[in-house]
């Protein structure tokens, strides 16, 4: 028992090696926060399959490789990354290997929001301090602690009171170097009555192994509305581990669509916490994986107050040797009466070697609630295939069409037309190539 513990401790130490080189922040509280996180990394170990939360996701391949933050950032030209642009998004922050790239970023003058990078931010710091590092708890999560220890550049978005931002904000994280560890961080503060759409987008320009460890914190004030779209299209050898923590104040509305396409091993933890009455939380997800990919989504929707509504739909399409994992926890705390929650997990296995572990989980401590969940695992319905064939489609076209339709249901919910089109195309290509 002690031997592996030392190994993981050694591994964490090696990951932390670059941390002291981080420039000290002019903000004292930020330095304290980092130091606390470094302490926590020291106290925690890398999770193994013996931990219930990581039971189906073996991240030991990650610990066999060593990753460091990049020493020399790659200089990219706009032409290199243009294809990732989303036409509706006039405001865009670009991070290359976790380092903010101002020359590639653009903030529309009429955006009406504060969009900045933490290291450069001079405005509104008072608003940030009570939130940064406060929603994504890093005391028990070694990856969140690592990210917090490296907290330097961060995308910060503050949407002022009663401002409805029409154009989506695009946060683009690009991986360009192998063996690089990057620690992307996003903070979104949606003040009362505002509305905003944010796209968190992870892409790669190379196919070697690297490690992305991201943390996103979103705080919604009363009546705020946030659309959060998360696209993970990392390189085929990448390791992607991400935490997202959302806090919902009175009558706020949060809609999230997360799409996982890339990475060799990816893990996404989404925790939403209802802090006042009458919130609405819609969480949709799609994992489309093949070959030897593993995609793990863990969500926890915490109804801590009365009158909360949550809707969750998660879908996995696994081909090749892929392994899809879903764990969706719905928590209804004592006193959270009139909670209305539904959750579904649908999984499609395209090959004989693909497999899926799914666990929809309900924990209910209040009696006047309506909670349902459902899960299915299966293959394409042979009657549906037959129906399409009876209309003259070939077997393969019929199967591709049904697989596409299965995934498209989630893609359809993305409120940004060009991204929807782009991802729809990706799903179409990927599902066709798998048969």
């Amino acid at each position: 028992m002690s031997a592996p513990a030392t190994t993981t401790a050694g591994y964490l130490e090696s990951l932390l090696a670059g941390q002291p080189q981080l420039p000290a922040s002019p903000l004292a509280w930020l330095n304290t926060l980092r130091a606390e996180a470094v302490d926590r990394v020291g106290a925690l170990t890398v999770p193994t399959v013996r931990d219930e939360e990581w039971r189906f996701t073996d991240i030991s391949p990650l610990t066999k490789l060593s990753f460091q933050p990049v020493s020399a950032p790659t200089s990219l030209q706009a032409a290199d990354i243009e294809r990732f642009y989303i036409e509706e998004a006039t405001t865009r922050l670009v991070f290359v290997d976790g380092v903010y790239a101002p020359q590639l970023s653009s903030v529309a003058a009429d955006a009406g929001v504060v969009v900045t990078n933490l290291a450069a931010a001079a405005t509104d710091l008072a608003a940030i301090a009570p939130h940064l590092g406060q929603h994504a708890a890093f005391h028990d999560d070694v990856f969140a602690a690592l990210n917090t220890a490296f907290l330097h550049d961060a995308a910060v978005l503050v949407v002022p009171r009663n401002v409805a931002v029409s154009a989506p904000v695009h946060l683009l994280f690009i991986a360009t170097q192998k063996e690089a560890a990057s620690y992307p961080r996003c903070l979104l503060l949606a003040e009362s009555g505002c509305a905003v759409t944010v796209i968190e987008d992870y892409v790669a320009l190379q196919e070697e192994a690297y490690f992305t460890n991201a943390v996103t914190e979103i705080a919604l004030a009363d009546n705020a509305r946030v659309n959060h779209i998360r696209v993970q299209r990392e390189g085929a050898q990448a390791f992607h581990i991400a935490n997202c923590a959302v806090s919902l104040a009175r009558a706020s509305h949060f809609h999230s669509v997360s799409v996982a396409l890339g990475a060799r091993i990816s893990r996404y933890n989404l925790n939403t916490l209802q802090t006042a009455e009458g919130t609405e939380c819609i969480v949709d997800g799609l994992a489309l994986i093949a070959n030897n990919q593993l995609a793990d989504t863990h969500t926890c929707i915490d109804h801590a107050q009365p009158h909360g509504v949550s809707r969750q739909q998660h879908k996995c399409i696994a081909g090749g040797n892929a392994h899809a994992v879903f764990n969706g926890k719905i928590m209804v705390r004592p006193g959270a009466q009139r909670t209305d929650s539904s959750q579904s997990s649908h999984n499609l296995l395209l090959s004989g070697r693909a497999h899926v572990d799914t666990k929809p989980q309900l924990e209910i401590f209040a009696d006047d609630v309506k909670c349902t969940h459902g899960a299915t695992v299966g293959q394409l319905d042979s009657e549906e295939v037959f129906y399409l064939r009876s209309r003259g489609l070939s077997e393969i076209v019929a199967r591709n069409m049904l697989t596409y339709a299965f995934g498209a249901e989630i893609i359809e919910r993305i409120p940004v037309a060009s991204l929807k089109r782009q991802l729809g195309q990706t799903v179409l290509e990927q599902t066709s190539s798998q048969t």
Binding site: E52, F56, P334, G335, Q337, N347, L349, L350, S351, G352, R353, A354, H355, V356, D357, T358, K359, P360, Q361, L362, E363, I364, F365, A366, D367, D368, V369, K370, C371, T372, H373, G374, A375, T376, V377, G378, Q379
Partner: protein, 478 residues
């Protein structure tokens, strides 16, 4: 409204009396010596002692499981007496010689031991603390070749069968409590249905814990040979004590080709008082092996008692086209905690399983469904349907669902659904409109909620279970 519902569920426990009978109780504590003592008392063959000692040694290396969604103070395994038996007056020849005090006890519990008075058409094996005190209809069953007797008797008379099957479904090192049971089990029922025999009557075991400091560790083994079928019932009660007693049983079922085993339980151990003091810790391992083609194993349980329930009747579906079923109603009240569910392991081709679980939580209780549906790569065409519904009565109780679904074969089809609801004011209002009082309405709603499960129970049990729930929920609706 919720106060009346609260009152509804607070019914006294009817089986909480203690039988004053001279008992032979072993000193407290567990060691190799205790095991040798139990084995010697039962005059067991060498291999069984070895089996026990093996289990004990693996138990020593194990840690008490903590993953279940239950909280309790640590059990001191050295403070339990592992053997307690009523002192036999003399060797029994017929039922008339059974200690009258015992007879009265079981009359009171509604399980008459006289065959003429016995529940018509049900053969009963009665376990009192650590030993079997009587088995009814033994001869009649023997006529068709069925062996139905106490485990200790089977060890003496049919050692080859016991040796072949004991521990074959639940190995000695399976889990903490199964290992403990394998080391110290004292008695239980043994049942063997030969090839092609349909058991002419329901078989049943009635468990009674009577001694305060003892635990009950019984072991049940049911074997259905090719083409055989049997329906088996189990009931349990215990007196009210303000301490907790441990009940760690192991049940193994084996169904060969085309065999059919139906196992039904109405569990009504003492659940502790309204403050959660006392009650039985019910840590049970039940598993059926559907070994042959077209075999079928069906579990039905009505769990209303025990301070803590930790129980997952499972099916290992090994034979092609074998079928596993699990129907459960779990009712918890006061400070009861139940963590129960099932495991369906699909290994053979075209195996099918159905899970229907209904949880009702009232008072301060917590009721969890924890289930696993696992489809291995060999289980082509496997099919599972699971449904778990929870009902909450009062806002202090909790209902939880932990369904694990692991699929390794893409021709499998697995479906799971769950819902949580409460008895709504509007429902009661609707009943009231039609002239039905709240009490009858609640009873109707609950019976409707549990109907899918009750339908699976053998007739007498279905009546008993319905009554049990309405007793538990009966009271003062005004």
């Amino acid at each position: 409204m919720s106060a009346t519902l609260q009152n509804l569920v607070n019914q006294p426990y009817k089986h909480g009396f203690v039988t004053d009978i001279e008992t032979d109780v072993a000193p407290k504590g567990l060691s190799e010596q205790t095991i040798r003592m139990i084995s010697a008392k039962k005059n067991e063959p060498e291999w069984l002692l070895e089996f026990r000692l093996n289990a004990y040694r693996s138990w020593l290396k194990m840690e008490e499981p903590t993953w279940a969604n239950v909280k309790y103070t640590e059990i001191d395994f050295q403070a339990i007496s592992y053997y307690a038996a009523p002192k036999p007056k003399a060797k029994l020849k017929s039922m008339d010689e059974v200690d009258p005090e015992l007879l009265r006890t079981f009359e009171k519990l509604g399980v008459p031991l006289h065959e003429r008075a016995a529940l018509a058409g049900v053969a009963v094996d009665v376990i009192f603390d650590s030993v079997s005190v009587a088995t009814t209809y033994k001869e009649k069953l023997a006529e068709v070749g069925i062996i139905f007797c106490a485990m200790s008797e089977a060890v003496q008379h049919h050692p080859e069968l016991v040796q072949k099957y004991l521990g074959s479904v639940v190995p000695v090192g399976d889990n903490f409590y199964a290992a403990l049971n394998s080391a110290v089990f004292t008695d239980g029922s043994f049942c063997y249905i030969p090839k092609g025999v349909k058991c002419p009557m329901d078989l049943s075991t009635y468990f009674r814990i009577n001694t305060q400091e003892s635990g009950q560790f019984e072991r049940t083994l049911i074997i259905a040979e090719e083409g055989a079928s049997v329906s088996y019932l189990e009931g349990c009660t215990a007196p009210k004590f303000d301490t907790n007693q441990l009940h760690a049983a192991v049940v193994e079922l084996i169904a060969l080709d085309n065999a059919d085993i139906k196992y039904s339980t109405v569990q009504n151990w003492y659940a502790g008082d309204e403050n959660g003091v006392g009650g039985i810790y019910n840590f049970v391992t039940k598993r059926g092996l559907a070994k042959g083609v077209n075999s079928r194993i069906s579990w039905t349980q009505v769990e209303t008692g025990s301070a803590i329930t930790w129980k997952y009747p499972s099916c290992v579906l090994l034979g092609e086209n074998s079928v596993g079923e699990f129907y459960s109603v779990a009712l918890t009240n006061h400070h009861q905690q139940a963590d129960t569910g099932t495991k369906m392991i699909h290994i053979g081709k075209n195996t099918r399983s159905t899970i229907v679980s209904k949880g009702i939580s009232a008072g301060h209780s917590n009721n969890s469904y924890r289930g696993l549906v696992k489809v291995t790569p060999t289980a082509a065409g496997a099919r599972n349907y699971s449904q778990c519904d929870s009902m909450l009565i009062g806002d202090q109780s909790g209902a939880h669902t932990f369904p694990y679904i692991q699929v390794r074969n893409n021709t499998a089809k697995v479906e799971h659904e769950a819902s949580t609801s409460k008895i709504g004011e509007d429902q009661l209002f609707y009943f009231a409109q039609r002239g039905i009082g709240a009490e009858a309405a609640v009873s109707m709603i609950i019976n409707g909620f549990c109907k899918d499960v009750f339908q699976q129970l053998p007739l007498e049990f279905a009546v008993e279970a319905t009554n049990l729930l309405s007793f538990k929920l009966e009271g003062s609706v005004g």
